[in-house]
Symmetry: C2
Subunit: 543 residues, 2 copies
Amino acid sequence: MSENKKIELTQAIESQGQKVRQLKSEGAEKSVIDAQVALLLEFKKELAVLEGTDKKASKASKTSFTLKTAKGTKDYNDKDMAIREKVFNTITKVFKKHGAVTIDTPVFELKEILAGKYGEDSKLIYDLADQGGEECSLRYDLTVPFARFLAMNGKEYQNFKRYHIAKVYRRDQPAMTKGRMREFYQCDFDIAGVYDPMIPDSEILRILCEVLTDLDVGQFTVKINHRKILDGIFEVCGVPEASIRPISSAVDKLDKLPWADVKKEMVEEKGLAPECADKIGEYVKLKGGRDLLEILKKDDVLTKNASASAGIKDMELLFDYLDVFEVTEKMSFDLSLARGLDYYTGIIYEAVTEKSAPPKLADGVKPKKKTNSDELDESTVGVGSIAAGGRYDNLVGMFSGVNKKGVPNLQIPCVGVSIGVERVFSILMAKQKAEEIKSNETEVYVISVGDGLLKERMQIAKQLWDAGIKASYLFKNKPKLDKQFAVCDKEMIPFAVIIGKDELEKGQVRIKDMRSKDETQGGGVTIEQTKMIQELKSRLTLL
Amino acid sequence: MSENKKIELTQAIESQGQKVRQLKSEGAEKSVIDAQVALLLEFKKELAVLEGTDKKASKASKTSFTLKTAKGTKDYNDKDMAIREKVFNTITKVFKKHGAVTIDTPVFELKEILAGKYGEDSKLIYDLADQGGEECSLRYDLTVPFARFLAMNGKEYQNFKRYHIAKVYRRDQPAMTKGRMREFYQCDFDIAGVYDPMIPDSEILRILCEVLTDLDVGQFTVKINHRKILDGIFEVCGVPEASIRPISSAVDKLDKLPWADVKKEMVEEKGLAPECADKIGEYVKLKGGRDLLEILKKDDVLTKNASASAGIKDMELLFDYLDVFEVTEKMSFDLSLARGLDYYTGIIYEAVTEKSAPPKLADGVKPKKKTNSDELDESTVGVGSIAAGGRYDNLVGMFSGVNKKGVPNLQIPCVGVSIGVERVFSILMAKQKAEEIKSNETEVYVISVGDGLLKERMQIAKQLWDAGIKASYLFKNKPKLDKQFAVCDKEMIPFAVIIGKDELEKGQVRIKDMRSKDETQGGGVTIEQTKMIQELKSRLTLL
């Protein structure tokens, strides 16, 4: 109805407008034009009123909600959380085994704390609305708040192993099925402090191997490289200093793009001489273990470069320590690993697993080979990283402020790793069927036969709770037996204590193993009520 | 320099302004006035440029950060977190014993989900900035997101015990020392589902008592009341229907204000007849246990009221169940308990403890007595609540939308409790000295005597880790013995494995209990290295 009226009015406004324009162009008398303009304004006013009313009406009808979570976020239900807690417990156990403590920082920081830390990606930061007071933003990662914490709490925390498992926020285009969300967990372990070279670095790599082994994500490899070697390579290949970080970013794409594309980016976009790029190409295709280190040590050009030489010395020490920790075989020393973030200053690494591969290629489609190489192009076999990190010695200094000489007031070197828990979850969730996940921990269900026996069930549940046994019962006065059994099945509760009037009068209860469908002796064993706790406890320890 | 120039200019602008005004008042020629105005504008422009430059300069000099967390938020360091985890583990253990699962919802919700749920307090909601896309707000509590989750996931979760421990956000005036912060933890347990009356309600109260007992917060009392009894009282005392919630809010202040003040609010602010208020006053001073129930049952006026009568029936059932659970003695049936939130529909409760009392009164100052009563005014003895909750049967329906008949599409009754963990933390932190809190879990420190023996220490640490023992060592090539002992002390590590060149050659290590200052046998026992794990494990089980 009002829709039709609006269409009529819109048409009237259009033709009236034409009329006015025509009168004007014909040089009609002012009074004539004014009269027609007044009519036009009348139509416009009527339309505005109509639209305003509609808006109000549509607002009133919107008392029902858009029942959803915000874009890029999701609820985790009880099954998700059961897997999630298992993962967190596994990871936390390893961290604690290595002496780590945890800290917690607020979910939002002053805006200026985050400013200028993430380069281009700063546009992905969520800001809080200006409601008076300070300007704040949701944290983008856990590393910057950690550095801020260290800068603030200074001297107390110069020797510090800390982990932090918490959510971070990025206003990215979400791809929920690929685990790319706007709210997601990060799981960071960092060692802060002034120590002798490569000792904490090797422990981080040992921890990473322990975590990935314990998480049972399948075969994995840890790619390692050293920023100083990489920078040395760029220098000896003739990359101008100002171009080192951009060229490094291009190299970082080698796990997704063939060399030809990366070279093109270096030469055409970043203005590198083609012969420089070719030299780099020779280096970054190298990968191996300690053998690669021997090759680099024989490279006279490289060893004469101060940066590369320092990096090689670090790597040699690192391999010594990794040997002691028996994790060398998990490493792939890979000169094409560059890592995106600018703040790394030493060793860098990234763990990949075969389980994080994308869907199989269609029949007849072969994995693409990299141009100028007989290696597979990883973008077509698809191995994603499930953990990454490196050494960052200068970040804390960025927060501590500088003294009059321009030297940071407090400089705490750090090395850390971030486990990509969302990817780990998706690997583990894919392995398990939802209906097989027991999200509660209930051990015993208290069931009545015949009469409701509510207070008697409560009384038994109370005894079980007092004994530390996880127990539950149906919140009904007179529940049916099959309903109670159905709960046991659905919640995967292993044992039932079954009571009936007769048993209770004799001071007895029946204990039934709900996992076996054994129905001998009426489905379970009858015992004295006084022995119930003891019997259940000994059965539970066998679980 | 520029400061002086600015003062000069400001003065020049002022006197030039006067000159212009005078010329105008004297009726000077337009050209004369214009010339002086032009000069005035020139001055103003110069000042503006100067101020603009200064602003830029001051911006540039602000590259150093305001090194702090946002107002009303704080970092939790390792000691805080150790206590926090202990509290969460204690609480979670009780929840799981009662069959609960956990879910997680996003930290921000669509703005419209939160709108209209918190009355006046809606002004305290944090909004996210408009950066394009949906309008979102940080969650204000965990109850509304839970109801939203239930409405969305409907039928699957009609029988559901869930807990949720997470941070919520309120743009309140913070009082950090009193535990009132803008970011703080809530810890909620709720039972959702259609059950027989008072069965889940009694389990919630049992859980609350278990939690508070296990948390060791000292003596506590759980005040209980029933919204239906309260509403019945208001009805029989002649409170007009529209005034019931406002009058209920006034009653809720009785734990902080004397009756006279509450009566004044009822009569003067809320327009209640003084005789109505007096009748209410007679009821709300009643408290007790089951005996109070007997008194109410003999009150013919009250029992004839449908609402009160239903409430009394509920309470009778509840006391029966609480008797079975042996928690009745912890309860105080208190008709003055009203609870602020509008959405409660049945039983309501609030736990108070003597440990949350404010500082002692100064000498000679006696606790104030309530007017018209010989009871103490609690605001001067000060007992705060550390947990609260109640039944809310209609909240889920607010999200599920209504059908054509105006009936909610999905209605899931709920009853729940929220533990005030921040208050619990402050009680527990006050009991413990920071230096006595062990925030790491390290069990063994690997120490070298004489030479650095770095790789040997690493080798032993690796053996310990492989055996599941939490171990650490100093990240130095040649650490001094006293430095290593100092770490043991500071981190409260109970055992040390001490190695020296001689011991290693003989295949031996020394194990030292770092808690005893026993220095016999050179401070520890020397054993074969092959027996190290076994020896440590048996010592650790005795811890």
